[in-house]
Point group: C2
Chain length 334, copies 2
């Protein structure tokens, strides 16, 4: 795959990251619709077992089911060296906080203020745990095994029911004040576009202009039913270009991995939608940043689809588990 | 000072950073208008000598003058342990590149493709050098000695003739593909605002709406001559709020240090302009991010003026010099 070849040319393995890749770990992608759980050493054939559970509105029951499944896998495949959780949010990532590992202010029924990490830790005592946002997890997964392999600075975005982004800087996901919420930055409006945006909070933020519900609100149809020549595709590509320009100017990523369902672009098609978005991005940047990555040839490796497909999230949780082993080793214990 | 007290409460010194602070270093802030040079161990009374030179259009001559001044200081104050350069750009920050330490594609006459670092290194052989963008340098300076002291994740922005931003993540400035160019991301347009923006490349990007020349183009007067009740102040504050919202959503900084001449806001006044900008920021964020920093009380410590004033840049260059000693020590020598 061209993307990998280009990336591997510059790949400097980071010893502390590589050391624990390959150990048997448990992974939980805690999504707003479903929880995907896996046990394994990596993606593909290294994933020994995988299961999914509807998220529902009863966290205690769901977490008990997840624990039971993981414990059964452990009896079958051997002890899990560590576990990783990549969770929908907002979540508390501050290890010194009383609510570290909690989902905090979500509007999702039953989940506000839920301690996700606590019940899992109690069920698997003595094991290190990694915990991060779903998009930071997916970014790490794509960085370790997917479309950003070998890069230290990149961003993963998912555009589906909502929009989220995980930025990786010098090999580590960004946290900061809380954690990024990239779907909600303000956006310019294209000339003549009267659409008010679908974000309940911000109207025409990125999510309000480009997520699946925005396309449906704009056209009256789900994206999957739009004609290939519906003008909404071009509009959406142009708005995506504005958003990617913002990420490029603010983060200076070496690559943007563009995941989520909207990128598949129904009848218009994924390849055509990526081409349109890349061309519009170059137009918006207007040559301001002088880099081979931002030329008509280079941009194909700058904006790329994810390589792990539907497994990006759960692979990300595996990467978080592996990283927690690295961190535990660095601190001379677990 | 309240800002410092709040920050120090959470301050965990990073040993590798602290180790070399206090050594005698040389610092060069290479600006588009002037070069500010200093020799010292830190800001204030720790700065033993300071001089400035107009940038002009003859890099070779200017760099020779800078070398001569630094060498004279060295004879007077003792050997410089390291040197730091914080330069206007775009610059090449890739240490493996043939043009590392060069200013690359600037439109500034005489400076395109100039090797800034080379002549300095040859003049001070055997000494480690730090090199980064002017805004990354200023950010490090504010982080070490100024308004972001004790924070690992923050952003410094300067709004003057142009707009630039330096993001610090986990204590280190962002580089990535090239380096951030935060002044140029696309912006929404406020209802009824017909101003086309002053950026020659992008029109209504952040710089095209909020930098000094934008205010002058909008009103026909330099910012310093605007009446205190000129509507341009409110407009500018509201656009600044959009830009800070974007930085908040994308970077999740713990603080935004807002420097440069525009923040002083002429007759409207710095305090009033900050209050207006902070209030507008909370309005744009609309409560989406749940953090004490983003409440009417907390935002005063979230958007703050710089503490190093006109010395932020040259202090940043000192910080780069100190960091280069740390890096040299970490690699077991220079």
């Amino acid at each position: 795959m061209q993307v990998f070849a280009a990336a591997l040319g510059k790949y400097t393995p980071r010893v502390e990251t590589i050391a624990h890749t390959g150990q048997l770990v448990g992974a939980i992608e805690a999504g707003g619709t479903k929880f995907v759980c896996a046990v394994g050493r990596g993606p593909g054939t290294d994933m020994l077992a995988r299961a999914q559970f509807p998220t529902g509105d009863d966290p205690a029951r769901l977490l008990a089911e997840v624990v039971e499944w993981l414990a059964a896998q452990e009896r079958e495949h051997g002890q899990l060296a560590a576990l990783g959780v990549a969770s929908f949010g907002p979540v508390d990532l501050d290890r010194s906080s009383r609510t570290y590992g909690f989902i905090t202010t979500t509007p999702k029924r039953g989940w506000r203020g839920t301690d996700v990490l606590g019940p899992l830790r109690r069920a698997f005592p003595g094991r290190p745990f990694g915990f991060d946002t779903d998009v930071n997890g997916a970014a790490l997964g794509e960085g370790r095994w997917g479309a950003a392999r070998g890069l230290e600075d990149f961003v993963y975005v998912t555009v589906g029911t909502g929009i989220g982004g995980g930025g990786v800087i010098r090999g580590r996901p960004m946290h900061g004040l809380v954690h990024p919420e990239m779907g909600h930055f303000p956006m310019p409006v294209l000339d003549g576009d009267r659409f008010a945006g679908s974000c309940a909070i911000h109207g025409r933020c990125w999510e309000g202009l480009c997520a699946g519900p925005a396309i449906e609100a704009r056209t009256g149809k789900p994206a999957s039913e739009l004609a290939a020549d519906d003008p909404a595709w071009d509009l959406t590509a142009r708005y995506m270009a504005y958003a990617f320009a913002t990420l490029t100017y603010v983060l200076s990523p070496k690559r943007i991995v563009f995941g989520g369902s909207v990128r598949k672009a129904g009848r218009f098609g994924e390849a055509a939608f990526f081409e349109r978005t890349r061309a519009a991005l170059l137009e918006v940047l207007a040559g301001y940043i002088d880099s081979p990555a931002l030329t008509p040839g280079g941009v194909r490796d700058f904006v790329v689809p994810p390589a792990l497909g539907d497994d990006a999230g759960v692979c990300g949780a595996m990467a978080l588990a592996h990283d927690s082993l690295d961190a535990a080793a660095a601190h001379g214990g677990r």
